[in-house]
């Protein structure tokens, strides 16, 4: 299966924007047919695990396993996750780690992000000459899902640039799910509403969050995210 990335025309512009802000968006990233294929696959074919932070550690539980819990246990689980979140720690969203066992089109996308051509452009835009490879996961934010403020710059890891490739069409900012960036003191810097086929790139030193998806959001928020690493 072929997955194609569009030729990026405005590299100088993107490079300037990234150098100024440490954040930039590349619109119209995938070629149309590739986008259509992936969008349908992500919306309908992927089994997500629910990732959340509880009892001091990151956990992952499948939709089916959560459904199998007694209602009171489910309620307690979400209450516990929310209690952590109210104090500024934690997240809740669906994820699927991309590897050879993933759907072919999804794994091919990750391979396309890892071609020398793509990496070369990414190095040029971000000025990180040591970018070597990208990892990836598909994420799903449903009503009530969120990711509190954090940095992606984990000591001991070689993450340089975080990326978010949007697969949700016609999202409305009323629905939350905004990728929000902050100054170190918590002042909002900018907020981006999910945009289909846009590749957001940002320096792992940027404080960011995904705002809670409203209980009236008309759809799920899907994206492929990960890090370009040294």
């Amino acid at each position: 299966m072929t997955i194609k990335i569009n030729k990026i025309a405005n590299i100088t512009e993107l490079k300037n924007e990234f150098s100024e802000n440490g954040i930039v968006r590349v619109f119209n990233f995938l070629e149309q047919q590739s986008l259509d294929t992936l969008k349908v696959s992500i919306e309908t074919k992927i089994n997500f695990d629910n990732a959340f932070y509880l009892n001091g550690q990151n956990q992952e539980v499948s939709d089916a396993d959560i459904r199998a819990l007694p209602a009171t246990t489910q309620k307690q689980l979400y209450q516990d996750i929310h209690r952590m979140a109210s104090n500024g720690a934690g997240f809740l969203y669906g994820r699927h780690k991309i590897d050879q066992t993933s759907l072919e089109e999804v794994y091919t996308l990750l391979q396309q992000l890892n071609t020398e051509d793509t990496l070369k452009i990414l190095r040029e835009i971000t000025n990180f000459s040591d970018l070597k490879y990208a990892d990836g996961q598909v994420t799903r934010y449903r009503r009530g899902d969120f990711l509190t403020r954090h940095l992606d710059n984990i000591p001991g890891e070689t993450r340089r640039i975080a990326y978010v490739l949007g697969f949700t069409e016609n999202w409305h900012p009323d629905w939350g799910g905004l990728l929000q960036f902050f100054e170190k003191d918590g002042t909002p810097m900018r907020s981006w509403s999910p945009a289909l086929n846009s590749l957001t790139l940002f320096d792992v030193d940027k404080v960011h969050s995904v705002t809670s998806v409203a209980q009236f959001a008309a759809k799920n928020r899907y994206s492929v995210t990960g890090w370009f690493r040294a």
């Binding site: 929310h82 209690r83 979140a85 109210s86 104090n87 500024g88 009530g144 969120f146 509190t148 403020r149 409305h172 900012p173 009323d174 629905w175 939350g176 905004l178 929000q180 902050f182 918590g186 002042t187 909002p188 900018r190 907020s191 981006w192 509403s193 969050s209 705002t211 809670s212 998806v213 409203a214 209980q215 009236f216 008309a218």
Partner: protein
């Protein structure tokens, strides 16, 4: 207690920012005593109106009454509100209509009246006229608002025919808010992208030109604080309640 503004900011710069961007933030807007005094009074209020739309019509409910409902009824109300947020303008938050309270003489002697009198005084209006370069401002209306977990005010542009709204203002009186709780004021560009976000703060005023699309982001279900503000519009023309 005499309510007053600080007016310490650089007026020329404030005006320039407002004219360039269509919005501006006034830091340390009120004197510390004023901000503290109003905050203390507001945060102790028991009576609020819970507002939302049903079938396109604005609804006011007594928030304390709704709070006393059983879980089933509360859930049904939330469901109704959310259902109608999917494809129409919707909101869900609490207010105290202090402009109406003052001009309709609903609560004589209450401190709410002092806030409206203070905001509608000539020195206050002159200050806004000057920093916004808008001599046409003639009066303002105001309400106190409170957003808690699950509340929101979806995208709208404030442009209501005949209201003569020059600019909207939000006097932030929120203490101990975590930005992870949402409830930010998001101002949209004409391409429907978020141009600027303001998290709830204490003693800052956000002002933006009308009309512009904006929204108050959904407050996370795990928010434990309350987002308090006095909000309203700087208007030209005759004050219809003060003829």
């Amino acid at each position: 207690m005499k309510l007053s503004f600080n007016k310490t900011g650089n007026k020329a710069k404030i005006r320039q920012d407002y004219l360039n961007n269509g919005y501006v933030k006034l830091e340390h807007a009120l004197t510390n005593e004023t901000a503290r005094f109003i905050h203390e009074k507001i945060s102790n209020q028991k009576q609020w109106n819970l507002v939302f739309k049903n079938k396109g019509l604005h609804q006011d409910s007594n928030s304390a009454d709704v709070e006393a409902w059983d879980e089933e009824n509360k859930k049904n109300l939330t469901k109704l509100v959310h259902k109608q947020a999917e494809n129409a303008f919707q909101y869900f938050y609490e207010t105290i209509p202090i402009y109406d309270i003052y001009y309709d003489k609903l609560m004589p002697g209450h401190f709410f009246n002092d806030i409206v009198k203070f905001l509608n005084s000539e020195p206050t209006l002159n200050y806004f006229r000057e920093i916004l370069d808008a001599p046409e401002i003639n009066f303002l209306d105001a309400q106190i608002t409170r957003f808690k977990a699950g509340h929101f005010l979806n995208c709208h542009n404030d442009d209501v025919h005949g209201k003569n709204r020059v600019a909207a203002f939000v006097i932030n009186l929120t203490k101990d808010w975590s930005v992870d709780w949402g409830g930010a004021l998001h101002i949209l560009s004409n391409k429907s992208e978020i141009e600027k976000s303001f998290s709830p703060t204490f003693n800052e005023i956000n002002i933006f030109k009308v009309p512009v699309d904006h929204l108050v982001g959904y407050v996370s279900p795990f928010a434990t604080g309350q987002r308090l503000s006095i909000t309203g519009w700087l208007r030209s023309g005759q004050n219809p309640k003060n003829l």
